[in-house]
Symmetry: C2
């Protein structure tokens, strides 16, 4: 570490007691054994058990994995929907000192093969519905020594040339129920994830037991969770360990719901579970919460949620969406983070000192990423690494450091670009901080549009356009321009039921919030906006497609 | 450590980021700088500042202490009421890597001299009202190199032969406001405390930065605290660092109230602050909460508390007291711990699975110590170190181990009696665990009464007697008996306004809950019950006074 560490007087406390993931499940099984964990099966029925039963299966799994030769430090790839089996694998693998490598089914075959080779995964556990994704790269799986099929049907056999393949459920049936958990050095990796959607090859991070343990305490505090809650794990557990939210449930003895397989097109599944299971905490991105709301709007009887908190990340939640959820009794809490930050860095809570703000100002405030959570070092710095003033205007890059923040990428020369010499992770996010300490991400630095020596925020434009009642989605990118260096171009998807909308109407609609030169030169109406595997706008993709658009249209 | 630790795959996270106390105050000063900290002065007025101002004074203090030669690892004794200066000393001393040695003004001069010599304290910071307690042992302070007078009056000079003496406020005025906090190894001691009231010399424990950091997260979670809370620090900060509750306030950005000087006879001060400062969280023992209630009963206008949570430790809170507070809108939460456990081990929260219990059963449940908080290893074992069943009847000793549990006493051969070879602290408390996992402490093992080969719980008898409407307090001890080995003797204090009560009335009142042979042979009405420095019944003292009582009265 770069800071000199001062050693003081010896303590007489249990400083050797290791922060381990299995502590959470031990707690739930010991103190809240009766609390339910429910998981939606492929056929739509609910599988239900409790923490005591979950622990017994996790112990069987630990025995089965050990019998298969999985050793402390081994990486084991898992590609699965949000199910109770994924939950069991998280605890059993980390519990024996191995590493659960999160495999994203939405990245390219090429990237997946890279992730498996780069991480050195030795065993793969794969959902039957995702099996073809492995089959597609079967020639690049040399170091993999075995496969486990995750299926609701214990007797299912995949048609495959991969071998050997075991059935998860059969493994559990054949394993013993007694297992003594070893103490794992808290600085050992418990799970690994690779970032997606950026340029170049995926970059890997390996979360420690210590980091996820402390992160779990932080996210439980930010969401004000207790044993009275029912958590639905909506964020995919193959994406930054599902934001680590599900760990908080056994830690607190809260009820836990896994929605199983769903997509952005089948979010009715999620809404139905919110209602039927009386969920009080969930997590997700506006790309999921928005279609959920559209589905709710089709329901004859509107749900009335009770104390439902929806942690919302990835992109800024549209104000209209937050207001509609509020009318249903649900609180959308904007939070911010990244794969490199476990992810929780900020959460938007209202300070008591701001209680007297007008309702309008409160809604404006809620669009911000919020206040940093306790436990982290952070700063927003200009190009000279000087901290910017908290004036709500000056833009800088957000840098973060802490127990649950990455300090490097695994075996990757690109680490030095992303981490400072004193250990801060460079987010690449352009941020302002207001006088009350609220952080607002104004853009990705690489998404800021540089026009005639000035900067234009693509996110501000997107949000303004998306506030138009007939607009479903809008993405804005900076496109090469022969005169101004870059100029904004907007892609807009109108709502299915909407009538015709024109460029001029949209420009007119957003013009009050912008200088004239900041408005997009062109607004293109498109059927859909390209997205990354995690549902964010793929600006890289948009820029590639439209890179010569202004050069052609204006000059060509 | 005794467990073998398994090292897995290297993590890429910030595992070197040290858990330091100053992180909490940095957070408050950075993110909640406007939040108020208020402290009652000796003249009754309130001193008010905010976290930003507190941090500036703490930095001045860090400079002053450094200038005085305080080095990392040095022990600095502090004897003070619950004031903002004590708060500042906690952060400044631990922030520079030194150790705040908690000095209890209520122990004997002899014990205090022992604590100072055994710990090797080099500097003492003492409240002006407690100065005579130092003066009394001035001949035994050889290793002490200096003194700091804590007083509301910056120019106050004590009449003393101790030297050199500095004024706290003058030190701060003369010190600079810039200070860069070093990173402290989280396993270094941040504070030390000596247990009181037991046999033999006091035993010392030294809490690490890591232990208090993790304990703060635990207690904030158990009390469900957030930035919306106002915490009043009632438990003396010289007693197990005031249960560490005050650390949670800056960690969360919550408002913080210090009541200054008060005693069990002046708890009206505390009630007035609860009301005027709109307190939502506080902590204390029934020995304080009971007189507070008596004072409230004298008020013409009864307070209506809003979401007030009162963490209650030390002894079992009388049910009648809990019910009366509930009528006022306050929730008395029974918690359990000790100096060796930081102290939080259990807290009594209602499991959702028990929501359907009758009101009466819920009140019975609330008398138990509650459920263990997450993060600890614990067990209740019989004489063969076998875990007892969760049957609510079988009695065993509670053993605890964890990041905020002591693993030894400092430089003390008695450690081996109190800690198992695998690192558990032996509480000495007799406990049962019910089928829902709730722990109930039935007695101190040494307070269990052994009568004719059977055991009688002194605590059960005490609680039964204290439920009598005319009884203020009752203590029961086992006294040597020529025939039965021991027999129970009860000391009873009747309420000031109560009429005459007889032995037989009291025995009649409690008889439904006990076998006849379990009833005390004698009930003595006394003006007061001897107490330890922390307000618990001094059973040691009672036993000494009455050791021959049955031998004399029955046989003599």
């Amino acid at each position: 570490m770069s800071d000199a560490v001062v050693k003081g007087f010896d303590s007489t406390f249990g400083d050797d007691f290791q922060l381990n993931t299995i502590t959470f499940l031990k707690y739930a099984a010991g103190t809240f054994p009766e609390v339910e964990v429910a998981s939606r099966l492929d056929d739509g029925r609910m599988f239900r058990y409790d923490y005591a039963q979950a622990m017994r299966r996790v112990k069987r799994l630990a025995n089965a994995l050990t019998d298969m030769g999985v050793q402390p430090g081994d990486r084991v790839g898992v590609m699965e929907w949000n199910t109770f089996r994924f939950f069991e694998l998280y605890f059993a693998l980390s519990g024996i000192g191995a590493v659960l490598l999160q495999l994203n089914p939405r990245i390219s075959h090429q990237d997946r093969a890279y992730v498996l080779q780069h991480s050195g995964a030795k065993l793969l556990c794969v959902s039957d519905s995702m099996w073809p994704l492995m089959e597609a790269i079967k020639d690049q799986l040399d170091q993999v020594q075995g496969y486990v099929l995750l299926s609701d049907d214990p007797d299912k056999q995949p048609e495959t040339s991969l071998a050997p393949v075991s059935s998860y459920e059969q493994l559990l049936q054949g394993a013993g129920e007694e297992f003594v958990w070893p103490v794992i050095d808290e600085r050992s990796a418990y799970s690994g994830a690779y970032t997606s959607g950026t340029t170049g090859k995926p970059k890997g991070v390996f979360y420690s037991h210590r980091s996820i343990y402390l992160h779990t305490l932080a996210i439980a505090g930010a969401a004000r969770m207790s044993c009275e809650d029912t958590l639905m794990q909506t964020v995919p557990m193959f994406h930054c360990h599902g934001w680590g939210v599900f760990f908080a449930a056994p830690m607190l003895g809260a009820r836990l719901i896994f929605p199983g397989r769903y997509t952005a097109e089948t979010t009715d599944v999620l809404v139905d579970l919110l209602i039927s299971e009386k969920v009080t905490v969930t997590c997700g991105a506006p790309a999921i919460f928005l279609p959920m709301l559209h589905y709710i709007n089709t329901l004859e009887e509107k749900p009335r949620f009770k104390n439902l908190r929806m942690l919302s990340g990835a992109t800024e939640p549209p104000q209209a969406m937050m207001k509609q959820y509020a009318e249903l009794g649900a609180d959308v809490v904007h939070a911010y983070g990244a794969t490199e930050t476990s992810p929780l860095v900020t959460a938007n809570v209202l300070k008591p000192s701001l209680a007297d703000l007008s309702e309008g100002d409160k809604w404006e405030l809620r669009k911000k990423q919020g206040l940093p959570v306790p436990g982290l070092d952070w700063k927003v710095v200009d190009h000279n690494d000087e901290e910017i003033p908290n004036d709500g205007k000056t833009v800088g890059e957000l840098l973060v450091k802490g127990p649950w923040i990455a300090s490097s990428y695994y075996n990757d020369s690109r680490s030095e670009d992303s981490f400072t010499t004193d250990g801060f992770w460079r987010s690449g996010d352009a941020a302002v901080v207001d006088k009350n300490g609220y952080i607002k991400i104004t853009d990705r630095f690489k998404d800021v549009i540089k026009s005639g020596g000035e900067w234009i925020s693509s996110i501000d434009l997107e949000n303004a356009i998306m506030a138009h009642p007939q607009v479903l989605e809008a993405a804005v990118v900076g496109i090469n321009h022969p005169k101004w260096e870059e100029r904004p171009l907007a892609l807009v998807v109108v709502k299915p039921e909407a009538g015709e909308v024109t460029q001029d109407e949209v420009k007119e609609f957003i013009s009050p919030g912008f200088a004239k030169w900041q408005l997009p030169d062109e607004i293109l109406f498109v059927p859909e906006i390209p997205k990354t595997s995690v549902g964010k706008f793929s600006k890289k993709n948009i820029r590639e497609t439209y890179q010569d658009y202004y050069a052609r249209s204006k000059q060509g």
